[in-house]
Amino acid sequence: MTNETRVIPVLELSHISKRFGPIVANDDISISLRRGELLALLGENGAGKTTLMSILFGHYTPDEGTVRVDGVELPQGRPRAAIQAGVGMVHQHFSLAPNLTVLENVMTGTEPLWSLRSGTAAARRKLLAIAERFGLAVDPDARLGDLSVGEQQRVEILKALYNDARILILDEPTAVLTNIEAERLFSTLREMARQGLSLIFISHKLDEVMAAADRIVVLRGGEVAAERKASETNKAELAELMVGHRVTRPKREAATPGEIVFEASRLTVSSGGIERLKEIDFFLREGETLGIIGVSGNGQASLSQLMSGLAKPAAGEMRLFGEPVTALDVHDLVEAGIGRIPEDRHKQGAIGEMAIWENAVLERIRQPLFSRRGIVNRAAGQAFAATIIEEFDVRGGTPASRTRLLSGGNMQKLILGRNLYRRPRILIASQPTRGLDEGAVAAVHARILEARKQGTAVLLISEDLDEVIGLADRIQAIAKGRLSAPIAAEHADPRRLGLMMSGDWTSGDGVSGEGNSHAS
């Protein structure tokens, strides 16, 4: 590998190490980037990818090692120096101000602070020229907050290019994008590489790494695990290198459904004067998983709110364990042993500033096990959290540590553990693996399958086709607030589900019977 780099690499990271307390985030990492190359940095969450890039960009100072651009060493810990050397960074959580215009976001810091005027006209011309050159169309005077996420990312890229970046670092650029936006992004990146820019993108998605990159560096546990040309490897090998062992998503065994535990008929849910769910029918059975597949924004949020007791139906009937109910109540749901995995684990699933053990017992804090006469039993709570950490393999924290320090996958395992430990009769899982890496996905899937096997009725709401096909026994598609008739998992394939998700059947009489026969 080294014998072909006679030419000075555009970017060279040598022997970078970085520790945070006892945690080694980067351990002696060396990577070089050539001109016009599109390099993927592949690794699970917590493999040290983002730390490495933050060092490169001067946000962190490394404990050891150097960063060289065109053979010249960069001073450590100075973003300004990195920008001046031609390094641009596109952050996962954009470094943009929603209340400012596109042009203002791009121009910040590009002029001497004490100038009497901003050179707005020249800046606009330069921005438009760059946008034109790379096909990144955007209105310079639009307020950033009014743009879609994909457009905001374009602004983030333009900002780096405006600063004359020749090396572009993108931190998990597709995490927030739709599939179409992601494809468009990668064609832009390829075009940039063709025009002589050098790019590194960070990812844990095997598909996009294989499709887009020239070369792939795999990080694992803070070290370089391997380096491959994209043309000389495959997804299976990369997955194994990334996780350190063979990963296979767990297989679903045939279900043995029991009694119906929840039933909704002709249920309508409105919010803000709009019918979010229209006359939907579905039921949940013990020991069976119902998968709701659909493109996000078609009513999933309302369905998940309804099932978590956060929204009330405007019309229709519900039966919980055979009893008619008019609305589900959060407190009753918890008491009845209904587990919920909310869509947004950071906002609804856990309270980041609180300790892990507090989050573990939060739902049930009033139960005698965890509190008596208004006094919390810390020991019991901590013991419970320790059990979850042990059994559900939550890494990166003790019962007393802050929950926000956990990675997404581990936080999800904590939430899963809190719910599944009680053997819930019903589990509502909304997008349970969104944003998680391969290893964590497999772990979450295994837990959900195990719960089902033990008799839990599972409602899985997801926009991931593979996930729904892998986990669900029956599948209904959601489109424009309506639910299709269920199909058995055996009859499901991506093509048929794709057609169902497009909502063709909604034009007929909605939810009834065989409206989707043309799709089979």
Binding site: H91, S95, A97, T108, G109, T110, E111, L113
Partner: protein, 313 residues
């Protein structure tokens, strides 16, 4: 009804509006500057009081009026430095620090005043700023006496408002200021140091607040008493929201509030049978109503009241 019109048609009302508005303009601009950088400064009430005291004391001890204003501004900047050290460097609660500064600065004002000026039955006075007639303009009928016979600090406050509007929206410094208040991480990533920006904005803003206080003792009145700021600082904090953090609207908001105030004073003499407390309430009630309408569309600086720590997201 004609009584209302008579009041509005009197040049004296409009002259009073500008005079009453001046300390509010200074204070509001100061609070706005600080908040645009992302830091709320509730020290304003105390800083205005201290500015009123120290400015007056300087003049009482023989300094000229502009030196008094300057001394007030410097004292304000010093309190701003304390606020910045606590809220920016240490990342402490901006509410608590600000209220602490208000309590401390108010008490300290009275303490220093008591030490420096012996207790007397009639408060000692200084010769305040005199109204300056703007040549040419002050001779205009109605408009002349209404708008162009103010003291110099009043004209200065309006110039500063326009200047600040220009700086905020038209210069790289203003963009750095706004970016620090919207997203300090983005500012840092673009090579702007949000910590320096915040220190600068808080100190400059506090200097303006103190000048607003000094206007009370050196122009509106000629003596100092400890309760003279009378909640003007809190009005300024509300006016910043009313103005949606825009300097031009801040100027307008201060003038509007001053108009209500001047109007109710004159109304009291016309409608003698209504309890005067009703009139005193009027500017506040109308301000709350205006706030409710305007503030709903306000775009709050996204990082307002969020401490910035380098390297932490």
């Amino acid at each position: 009804m004609s009584a209302f019109l008579d009041i509005i048609a009197s040049a004296g009302l409009w002259a009073a509006v500008l005079r009453i508005a001046t300390p509010l303009i200074f204070g509001t601009l100061g609070a706005l500057l600080s908040e645009r950088s992302g830091v709320l400064n509730l020290g304003i009430e105390g800083i205005m009081t201290f500015g009123a005291m120290i400015g007056w004391l300087a003049v009482f001890n023989g300094a000229d009026l502009w030196t008094g204003m300057l001394v007030a501004a410097l004292s304000g900047a010093l309190f701003g430095l304390v606020h910045a050290a606590m809220t920016v460097s240490l990342g402490l609660s901006q509410h608590v620090t600000g209220l602490g500064i208000t309590l401390f600065a108010s008490s300290l004002s009275y303490y220093i005043f008591r030490l420096a000026v012996p207790l007397a039955s009639t408060p000692p006075t200084v010769t305040p700023f005199q109204p300056i007639s703007v040549p040419g303009l002050s001779d205009l009928p109605f408009i002349g006496p209404a708008l162009f016979t103010q003291t110099l600090p009043t004209y200065l406050s309006i110039v500063i408002a326009l200047l600040l509007a220009y700086i905020v929206y038209r210069t790289p410094l203003g963009l750095a200021l706004r970016m620090s208040g919207e997203n300090p991480h983005a500012a840092e990533a673009q090579g702007v140091d949000p910590i320096k920006v915040r220190y600068g904005a808080i100190m400059a803003g506090s200097a303006l607040m103190a000048m607003g206080g000094a206007f009370l003792t050196l122009s509106a009145f000629n003596s100092f008493f400890p309760t003279m700021v009378q909640g003007r600082g809190w009005i300024c904090i509300a006016l910043v929201v009313f103005a949606s953090w825009r300097p031009g609207r801040a100027l307008f908001g201060a003038l509007l509030f001053a108009f209500f105030d001047a109007f109710q004073l004159r109304l009291q003499t016309v409608l003698g049978n209504v309890p005067y407390q009703i009139f005193l309430m009027m500017p506040y009630i109308l301000s709350i109503a205006a706030l409710a309408v305007m503030a709903r569309r306000a775009r709050v600086p996204q990082a307002l009241m969020q401490p910035y720590r380098r390297g932490e997201r």
